[in-house]
C-alpha cells in the first residue's frame, strides 16, 4: 500500500500500521463492514487528492481549531494530506487577491468535481453586508461556489443550522447553508464545534466510495448522529434509578449521578460525544461534570437555558408515571384474578385415587 500519503505520514512519525488501525476504527465507528477499513486505507493512500474548497462565513474558527489543533498532531489533521485543500483562509499561505485567485482557479479546473466545505452561517440581512470577503457577500460566494461543487459539507452548527449567529434576535438574518443551496447534496456535521473524527469519517467515506454516507432527517450522518447522548451516556444507569445531582456541588454530583435536573440536554441531543469523546479520547462534557448543551441540535442557544431541566420530557414523564400506575393497577388486577382462579382450582381439588390413573 505505497503512495504519497503513506510517505508523508511516515515522515510525521505515523506508521502504516497506525494508519490502517485508524481506518479500521473509522469504518467501525461508521458501522461499515470490516472490509471497508482496508478499502478506506487504500483509497486514501492512493494519490487521487480531490480538490476541496473551504469557505468560512459567520464563524469563530472554532470548527477549524477543532480539527487542526484539538490534540496535535492528530491523525485527523492528516486529512489535509489526503485532499488538495485549494482554499482555506486560515490555513493557506496566500492572502488577498492571490488567495481569491487560487479559489477561482480551483473552481474552474475542477468544475463539478470539487468538494465544498462551509463553516459559519450565512447572513442575509442588509443584502448580506454583515459578512463579506474581498468585498463580496457570503451568500454571493456560496451560490457561486455551490454551482460547481459535487457535494457540500456544512461543518459546525452555524453552517448546518444557523448556530449562534442565528440565535434570537438574529440581528444579521443568519441562515444555514441548506436554506440557500437546494440543488446539491449537503451533509450537515453540526456541533459547536463538531467532533474531529466525524469530519474525517465523512471525508474518508467520500474518498473511498465516492458518495456521501447515509443521512438522517436533519442531513446528519446516521453513523454518528443516530443515537442520543443520553442513550450512550455512562451516567444513564443513575437516570434509570432516579439518582440525580441537584446542584453542581452536592453529594450526587460528586458521586457522578445523572445531570438531567441540572439541565443536561443529552436526552434530546444526537451526537457521538459519549462514544467518540474529545481531546484524543480524554473526556467529554458530561464526564467532566457538566450537562450536555445540545450544541449539535438546531436552535440549541434558544432552548430555554443551559441549566434548566428539559421541559420536553417533563410531560412524557408524567404520562409515563400515569401509564406505569395504570399498568401496575392492571397487573395487580390480573394477579388477583389469577390468584382467584388458582384458588378456585385448589378448592375444587378432588383427591387423586388409584382409579384416576386409569384412562376413562
Amino acid at each position: 500500500m505505497p503512495g504519497p500519503l503513506i510517505e508523508s505520514l511516515a515522515r510525521q512519525g505515523i506508521t502504516r500500521r497506525t494508519f490502517l488501525k485508524y481506518c479500521a476504527t473509522l469504518a467501525s465507528m461508521m458501522a461499515l463492514p470490516p472490509s471497508a477499513g482496508r478499502a478506506m486505507a487504500e483509497a486514501m493512500a492512493a494519490a487521487r487528492r480531490p480538490s476541496v474548497i473551504w469557505l468560512p462565513f459567520q464563524e469563530c474558527t472554532g470548527c477549524t481549531e477543532s480539527i487542526t489543533r484539538s490534540h496535535s498532531p492528530t491523525i485527523e489533521g492528516m486529512i489535509f494530506d489526503m485532499i488538495s485543500l485549494d482554499y482555506q483562509e486560515t490555513l493557506m499561505a496566500a492572502a488577498g487577491h492571490q488567495a481569491e485567485a487560487a479559489r477561482l482557479d480551483a473552481m474552474q479546473d475542477n468544475a463539478g468535481k470539487y468538494l465544498l466545505i462551509v463553516d459559519g452561517s450565512v447572513p442575509l440581512g442588509l443584502d448580506g453586508a454583515y459578512s463579506c470577503i474581498g468585498g463580496r457577500s457570503n451568500v454571493e460566494m456560496l451560490k457561486e461556489a455551490a454551482q460547481g461543487a459535487a457535494a457540500i459539507v456544512a461543518v459546525g452548527t452555524c453552517a448546518a443550522f444557523g448556530g449562534i449567529p442565528k440565535a434570537n434576535p438574529n440581528p444579521t438574518g443568519a441562515v444555514p447553508v441548506s436554506d440557500i443551496v437546494k440543488d446539491r447534496p449537503i451533509v450537515n456535521i453540526p456541533g459547536c464545534p463538531p467532533i474531529p473524527v466525524v469530519m474525517t469519517g465523512v471525508l474518508a467515506h467520500y474518498l473511498t466510495f465516492g458518495s456521501l454516507p447515509e443521512l438522517d432527517d436533519k442531513g446528519r450522518p446516521k453513523a454518528f448522529f443516530g443515537e442520543t447522548i443520553h442513550d450512550r451516556c455512562y451516567r444513564r444507569p443513575f437516570y434509570d434509578r432516579g439518582k440525580f445531582a441537584k446542584t453542581f456541588d452536592d453529594e450526587g454530583a460528586r458521586n457522578g449521578w445523572c445531570l438531567f435536573e441540572l439541565g443536561c440536554k443529552g436526552p434530546v441531543t444526537h451526537n457521538a460525544c459519549a462514544t467518540a469523546k474529545w481531546n484524543g479520547g480524554t473526556s467529554w462534557p458530561v464526564e467532566s461534570g457538566h450537562g450536555c448543551l445540545g450544541c449539535s441540535e438546531p436552535d440549541f442557544w434558544d432552548a430555554g437555558g443551559f441549566y434548566k431541566a428539559l421541559s420536553v420530557p417533563a410531560d412524557p414523564l408524567r404520562i409515563a408515571g400515569v401509564a406505569a400506575a395504570a399498568g401496575a393497577a392492571v397487573g395487580v388486577g390480573l394477579s388477583f384474578a389469577n390468584r382467584a382462579k388458582k384458588g378456585a382450582a385448589k378448592k375444587a381439588h378432588q383427591p387423586v385415587t388409584l382409579a384416576d390413573l386409569e384412562k376413562s
Partner: protein, 420 residues
C-alpha cells in the same frame, strides 16, 4: 370438553405456581436444554428438547393466566389442549424424561424444567395418560406395600438370610434406635448384599439401627407417576413409623428417587417438618469416614469409574461424599468428564425403568450410548454406582450391547474391604 380433559386443565391450573409462571416468562428459547438431555443428544430428535416436553402446560398457563393468552384463546388463535395431544405427549413426559435435572442445571435463565415436568405429570396422572408400567408400580405400592409387590414376610426372609451369612442380628421395630433403615424393593430382590453390608457397618461402628415392618419401602411411585395425593399416602407410612419408633435419623437407601422422595418431597407432601432427620447412606458413611471409623483392610485394585446417580448427586446435593468414599476403597479410580453434578443419567430414572414397552426399552438402550462412550473412553471394565435403579437399568443395557463391564454398588464395595 371431555370429563377427563376437564380434570387435566383443572389440575394444571392448580399446579401452575409462581415459579412455573416465571419460568415460562423467562424462557429465552435458546435451546441449550436440548444439548443437556441425553434423549436428544443420542437421538438427535428435536421433540426431545426438554422445554418442549411441557408445551401443553405452557399453553394452559398462557390461556388461563395471561391477558394475551386469554385473548388468543377467545379469538381462536390458541388451541385448547386435547386428549390426542396428551396421548402423544405421554412418551415425552414419561418414556423420554428421567427427571435427571441436567436441563435445569444448564438453563442460562435458571428455569427448573425438571420441576415443570414433575408438575405436568400431575395433570397427566389424573387423566390416566400414564404408562402401564408406572401405573402398575403405583398400584402395587399402595395396595401391597412396594412397587414390585413385595410383602413383609418376603423381606423378613431376606433379613434372616443376611443374619445367617453375617452372623449379626438385624433388629426390627425396635423403638429408640438411632437409625431407621429403609430399603428399596430393587435391593431386597436383586442386591441383598446391600443389607448385609449395612449390618456389618452398623455393628462395626456401634450405632443402633432398626427396620420397620410396616415401612421398609423407601421408593415412592406416586412421585414418579405425578400423583401427590398418592405420594403423600406412601410417604406417610415412613413418617408415621419413624415418629412412632422415635428414631433420630431415617437412613435413605442408595436408590436415588427414594432419596428425593423421602428427603426433599416428603415434608412438602405432608405439609410440615419431620421430627427426624433424613440421611443418605453415603452421607452416613462419609460421616464415619471423617471420624476415622471407616477403615479399609485393603483396596480394590482394578481401574474403575464412578456413575453418579442424578437424584442423589445433582438433584439431591450429596456432592462430595461419593468421590471421597470411592478414593478410600479404590486403588485406581479414574475421574471422567461430566462427573458429579454434570453426570449423564443411566437413562431409566424417574419411573422410566418401570416402562416395559418395546419403544421405551429401545429408547433407553439408545440413550445409554452416552454412558457407553464414557466407559469405553476410560477403558475400564468396572463401574461403581450407588443407586439400585441405575444399576439394574445399566446392567440391562450392558447385556443389550454385550459389553464386558462389571457393575458394583458403592456400599457393598466398601463393606467388602472393611477392616474386620
Amino acid at each position: 370438553m371431555s370429563a377427563s380433559l376437564e380434570k387435566v386443565t383443572q389440575t394444571l391450573k392448580e399446579v401452575i405456581d409462581a415459579p412455573i409462571a416465571s419460568y415460562f416468562e423467562s424462557c429465552v428459547h435458546c435451546g441449550l436444554c436440548a444439548e443437556a438431555c441425553l434423549f436428544y443428544t443420542e437421538t438427535g430428535d428435536p421433540k426431545y428438547t426438554p422445554i418442549h416436553k411441557v408445551e401443553p402446560l405452557r399453553r394452559v398457563y398462557e390461556q388461563e393466566y395471561t391477558l394475551l393468552g386469554r385473548l388468543k384463546k377467545m379469538v381462536g388463535l390458541s388451541r385448547p389442549i386435547t386428549d390426542e395431544e396428551l396421548d402423544q405427549w405421554q412418551e415425552l413426559v414419561y418414556d423420554s424424561c428421567t427427571l435427571c435435572g441436567r436441563c435445569s442445571l444448564i438453563c442460562p435463565v435458571g428455569n427448573d424444567i425438571t420441576y415443570m415436568i414433575r408438575k405436568f405429570r400431575e395433570g397427566m396422572a389424573v387423566s390416566g395418560h400414564v404408562p402401564d408400567g408406572i401405573r402398575g408400580a403405583t398400584q402395587r405400592t399402595v395396595e401391597i406395600g412396594g412397587p414390585m409387590g413385595l410383602k413383609w414376610p418376603a423381606v423378613a426372609n431376606v433379613l434372616k438370610k443376611a443374619e445367617e451369612s453375617t452372623g449379626l442380628t438385624i433388629p426390627v421395630d425396635q423403638a429408640g434406635a438411632d437409625y431407621l433403615v429403609l430399603l428399596s424393593s430393587m435391593e431386597i430382590v436383586n442386591y441383598p448384599e446391600y443389607i448385609e453390608a449395612l449390618a456389618k457397618i452398623f455393628h462395626k461402628a456401634g450405632i443402633s439401627f432398626t427396620l420397620a415392618s410396616d415401612a421398609f419401602e423407601a421408593t415412592n411411585a406416586g412421585i414418579q407417576i405425578g400423583a401427590s395425593d398418592i405420594a403423600r399416602v406412601i410417604v406417610s407410612r415412613i413418617v408415621d413409623a419413624a415418629e412412632r419408633l422415635k428414631v433420630k435419623y431415617v437412613l435413605s437407601p442408595e436408590c436415588g428417587h427414594a432419596y428425593t422422595a423421602i428427603r426433599w418431597e416428603g415434608p412438602n407432601l405432608i405439609g410440615r417438618p419431620y421430627q427426624f432427620e433424613v440421611v443418605h447412606v453415603l452421607e452416613f458413611l462419609d460421616g464415619l469416614r471423617q471420624k476415622g471409623a471407616l477403615k479399609m483392610k485393603d483396596k480394590f485394585a482394578e481401574p474403575l469409574i464412578l456413575h453418579d446417580p442424578c437424584q442423589i448427586v445433582r438433584r439431591g446435593g450429596v456432592l462430595q461424599a461419593p468421590e471421597a468414599l470411592i478414593r478410600e476403597v479404590a486403588e485406581n479410580y479414574i475421574p471422567v468428564a461430566d462427573q458429579q453434578k454434570w453426570n449423564w443419567c443411566c437413562g431409566g430414572g424417574g419411573g422410566a425403568s418401570a416402562i416395559h414397552t418395546d419403544e421405551a426399552e429401545a429408547l433407553r438402550a439408545k440413550a445409554f450410548g452416552v454412558k457407553k462412550r464414557q466407559i469405553e473412553a476410560a477403558g475400564v471394565k468396572t463401574m461403581v454406582t450407588f443407586c439400585a435403579n441405575c444399576r439394574i437399568v445399566m446392567e440391562e443395557a450392558i447385556d443389550h450391547y454385550e459389553m464386558d463391564t462389571k457393575l458394583l454398588g458403592l456400599t457393598e464395595l466398601l463393606a467388602e474391604h472393611l477392616e474386620d
